[in-house]
Symmetry: C3
Subunit: 158 residues, 3 copies
Amino acid sequence: MPTSRQVAFERIAAELGYDFGGAIKIGGNYAPFVIHRNEVYVSGQIPRVADTVMVTGRVGAMVSLPQAQLAARICAMRALALLRQAAGDLARIERILRITVFVQCSDDFTQHSEVADAASEVLHAVLGDAGMHTRTSVGVLQLPKNAAVEMDLVAAIA
Amino acid sequence: MPTSRQVAFERIAAELGYDFGGAIKIGGNYAPFVIHRNEVYVSGQIPRVADTVMVTGRVGAMVSLPQAQLAARICAMRALALLRQAAGDLARIERILRITVFVQCSDDFTQHSEVADAASEVLHAVLGDAGMHTRTSVGVLQLPKNAAVEMDLVAAIA
Amino acid sequence: MPTSRQVAFERIAAELGYDFGGAIKIGGNYAPFVIHRNEVYVSGQIPRVADTVMVTGRVGAMVSLPQAQLAARICAMRALALLRQAAGDLARIERILRITVFVQCSDDFTQHSEVADAASEVLHAVLGDAGMHTRTSVGVLQLPKNAAVEMDLVAAIA
């Protein structure tokens, strides 16, 4: 189990062409994750790789659906990388409890579910049934650093 | 207690004129609810009955406050129907811990609390003190399927 | 520990020039906080002092970054006042698990993190390491009562 999850994680990282192995950058007086009992809260992730936000702009206007889905995949991979760091191993993730997906969109965009699906697919591909989560998707006016997508989550670890 | 909650639920369903007894439709690699220990997370609910989103559009523009409140009531009933399914019986719901109400609104709309009140009233009418929850209400640019309102929640079950 | 937290709380209240000792006003069928096991959920807080929302309007347009940061500080102090009420004493707060900061902003505003930093700093100043939380910041179209900022949180208590 640990091996297959890690293999799936590395496969998706390779497909995206990004390395999610490094430290996740975070600023200010807050933490990338907090562990309480057997739950892990993960801070809102934008599609940043190293110092660059990979997908910026407004979905439905300058940002296409496939680009927004790429953004959602990167957010999900960052969240998984933080969960791995919190739990020590992807194998120790018992269940993703909730993800919230914020899409910075134009005022007539309605495909938030299709954007969020890309994040859900990553979680399911890496974690299998443990990756089946509840989800809330909303379209918002703006996101930090002009990011196209932001996603946070809470998970249970063994 | 189980009976009175179920009676209140059926009474509100009858007042709204909708049946919340069927399966709640959900797409993608995520779940309508996830149970972890004695907590239930419920995915974001839009005012959908069967295949139709009953209230679409922007509150404060095409959608009136009473229509938005209807939307909030439907969302709350859907969430209760999922909680009932998760817990096996409305009587097993110990407490609603948090609801988050997203209102798709015009840029000068400020009555989000009045919209959310309609959801809060449903929870209180069905669950009594156990339905007294914390709440966050925000006005957002867009919601999935052009829904006027979306609501998620987390609850404790016995 | 209890003394130093309370001293820091009172110092920030004095700097802001507001009294956070009174009852927190809330309307409708919901609660300012809910305690479940050792977790406290706090309802979304706007920068209200007594009956007045101190900072209203759109950040990036009529509301400057420093004004928005003031709003975030007031929200954080209100949340701390409620946590103190829930726990009986600031000393019993074990950890802030998550804050979500909603900023009512113009459509080209991207400094949500800088706004949220002001809330994070208050939590850290009062609670030290226990105030290190996960955070999600988003820019939204509208907030209740035209508030510039809204913030909710969940915390663990001893």
